[in-house]
Amino acid sequence: MSGLLTREQMAWRAAQDIPDGAYVNLGIGIPVLAANYIVEGREVCIHSENGIVGMGPTASEAEAGRDLVDASGNMVTLRIGAALFDSASSFVMITGGHLDMTLLGAFQVAANGDLANWDMMRPERGPLVGGAMDLAAGAKSVRVIMEHVTREGLPRLVETCGYPLTAKGVVERIYTNMAVIDVTPEGFVAREIAPGLGLEELAAKTGAPLIAAPDCGVLSPPALS
């Protein structure tokens, strides 16, 4: 199983699909790491839902100041050409279809593109939905980065989501530590599979029917720290 991708490699793979000129929102966790792997020569504007387009890397207090933060509260820098605005404008960008892509974490994705990524079903913790439903309903392309199976080894790609839904039928593509998988009218289609992993083994770890694309390739990211 040494061919499985690390978190950084999953983010790297997703970043390869972000085109030049794109406006993207990167979710908390693995998705935000994709900012480190934007393909050289492409200019990508990163949107943060608390009111930034053109966000740069995290920064020290001296560089950023405590009033310039991302949606997680990290102090951040701005790229040249960035803009700051209020939350109402920020969500006009999201729900109005002005974002080219969002990369989100998830608990489960169903074969019809249903997304479950907000309610972890722990009744003792206060609920948190944040901007997940807005991003899932509004971005032009909704993509997910997540481990292929749970810690217990159960599939996260499923026939029907068991967790409460974030949005119905929105996910286009899933980047896991085992494969790149598209959600199509025919169900899950593997585009790339990690080295050393066969389609049958991958299908066994997937909770809904999985077919391989005719040109299905090897998912081979570079070694990343």
Partner: protein, 225 residues
């Protein structure tokens, strides 16, 4: 003469009553009116409804109000703490002693904006088919399903900005605007704490972020981080 400056934090929050609906700006560290929230605590007012993007950020003065038993209901997109330990809100909520209305982040700000703009409700694609839309009216436009969300208004809005003038015009620093700008429009009384109250004319008309038409009181207060 118009002069919206007030002398003390107590004057700034004067008139707040038991049962008041209170909008509070602030996204993580930025825009949170900490000194005004301390002043609200000092009034002893009870049975508040708090409307805020999140209540879980570190050092949140909202927790102080909740721990003191002053809050009956929270309307928010995030009510979860970050660490393993349960937050003051989570302890009361799981015990059934505080009410929560969980709202997607963009829906929350747009409901506030609608309240400020004089619209009673609007339709959104966000949340359709999820449990946060259960029981709400839905309607189809051009083949897509939308859910009706109702406007939010408040008795008082509290926010922090960087600069103000005596007319109540505001300028924000970094990501301070977040929910504050929409909230200024949706409350009977809007109060801004600022780093600096500028001399007449020192904020150029084109540099104003929030017009003083929405702001009733301004006060220069140190940011209580």
């Amino acid at each position: 003469m118009i002069d919206k400056r007030v002398a003390t934090a107590a004057d700034a929050v004067a008139g707040i009553r038991d049962g008041a609906r209170l909008m509070i700006s602030g996204f993580q560290e930025a825009g949170m009116p900490r000194a005004l929230l301390d002043a609200v605590l000092d009034t002893g007012v009870r049975n508040l409804t708090i409307i805020a993007v999140g209540i879980g950020s570190v050092g949140s003065r909202i927790y102080a109000l909740i721990e003191a038993g002053r809050v009956a209901k929270v309307i928010s997109s995030s009510a979860r703490g970050r660490g393993q330990a349960l937050t003051p809100f989570e302890k009361l909520w799981t015990a059934g002693k505080i009410e929560l209305e969980l709202v997607p982040q963009g829906t929350l700000v747009e409901r506030i904006r609608a309240g400020g703009a004089g619209f009673p409700a609007y339709y959104t694609p966000v949340g359709v088919g999820t449990k946060l839309a259960e029981g709400k009216e839905t309607r189809e436009f051009d083949g897509r399903e939308y859910v009706m969300e109702t406007a939010l208004k408040a008795d008082m809005t509290l926010l922090r900005a960087d600069r103000a003038d005596r007319w109540g015009n505001l300028r924000y620093l970094g990501t301070q605007a977040n929910f504050g700008h929409a909230m200024t429009t949706a409350a009977t009384v809007t109060v801004a704490e600022v780093r600096e109250i500028a001399a007449d004319g020192a904020i150029a008309p084109g540099d104003v972020h929030t017009s003083g038409i929405f702001v009733n009181r301004v006060i220069e207060l140190a940011d209580l981080r």
